[in-house]
Symmetry: C2
Amino acid sequence: MLQGAVTDAIRTAFLEELAEVGYGRLSLEAVARRAGSGKAAIYRRWPSKEAVTIDLIAQVSFAATDTPDTGTLRGDVLAFLTAVDAALRHPLVSRILPDLFAAGIHHPDIADSLRDRVGGAGREKAVSVLRRAVERGELAPDTDFELGLDLLAGPLYWNTTVRQAPADPARLQRLADKVVAALAA
Amino acid sequence: MLQGAVTDAIRTAFLEELAEVGYGRLSLEAVARRAGSGKAAIYRRWPSKEAVTIDLIAQVSFAATDTPDTGTLRGDVLAFLTAVDAALRHPLVSRILPDLFAAGIHHPDIADSLRDRVGGAGREKAVSVLRRAVERGELAPDTDFELGLDLLAGPLYWNTTVRQAPADPARLQRLADKVVAALAA
DNA sequence: CCTAGTCGAGACGCAACCGTTCCGTCTCGG
DNA sequence: CCGAGACGGAACGGTTGCGTCTCGACTAGG
């Protein structure tokens, strides 16, 4: 029974340790201590710290939710921004995500996993928002999706995760207006 | 003569080491080795790894250049985006910056230094771009500067530093158009 | 020419982790 | 009821980094 309580305890401990000390200084010794397990229990499941990390990224991305069709681009954009903003503000995510992106610079496997799982999940949601808008006629058929994705994700990631600004729903409203204008340009 | 060749060698070695292994795994032992100095030479100048980091952030931010007045908002925005994009693509900066932001989560002093020196420098440039546009009448006097800064910095940081996308001048042109539209909205 | 201060080098004791191995215990499925 | 196997725990030898300290060499200014 390799998939059980011990596995979950290790995963949780790993995440908490990641949030506290960061990827670079995380030790499996401390994870085992926190999980109340032996180190062998970890090595029995994963070959390395990097492997645990990649596994966790895959797990977490499962939690990605869908963005509803609100009927208008503006509504869809606001819903997307609100959902992503909330996700970025999750206590563990907000502490871990910048660390993982930084770790990705030194560990290509982590970068790949992040691109596929985190980037990919958000990307699909954003694409469907843009695609629906094109179908409604709110956006031109030749709309630059790549640029649109940057406009949807960038300001949010910068303000929320990098600058660590406090939550502000009204600001999201205004940001949605700006983003819609940019998309239409 | 505490300010001399040795000091510079240590600073350079610290930066290179930072780029290679990241903040968390950086050791002053390795820095001394790379600098061709003794560890004591480092401790004679700074009390800790954190202090060296903060000192370096302050130094580097001096390199920030001015953004010229091109006469139009669109021109100013493009100049700003181009300058920041180039800065973010600097081989050392691109590897170090995400690491420093991640380190800031666990070390408030580093976060403060980043906010003041890196954020502050870019911020002043961006504000002057927006202020000039208001004076020209290209933007409304009640333009939301805070949001404008996110729109100027966010998409770039996301695409260039986080996603590590390759350079693309044409894309910057199109991004400038989008950003101008967003600012005016 | 002397002396004060920095220099590179590296040893010091200490602590943390590494990944592995071995305990004795406990819990299952057969 | 027994054997297989995972369990927590602890120890293994080895590596790395810490911050301090002591060398003898080099280089100033006086």
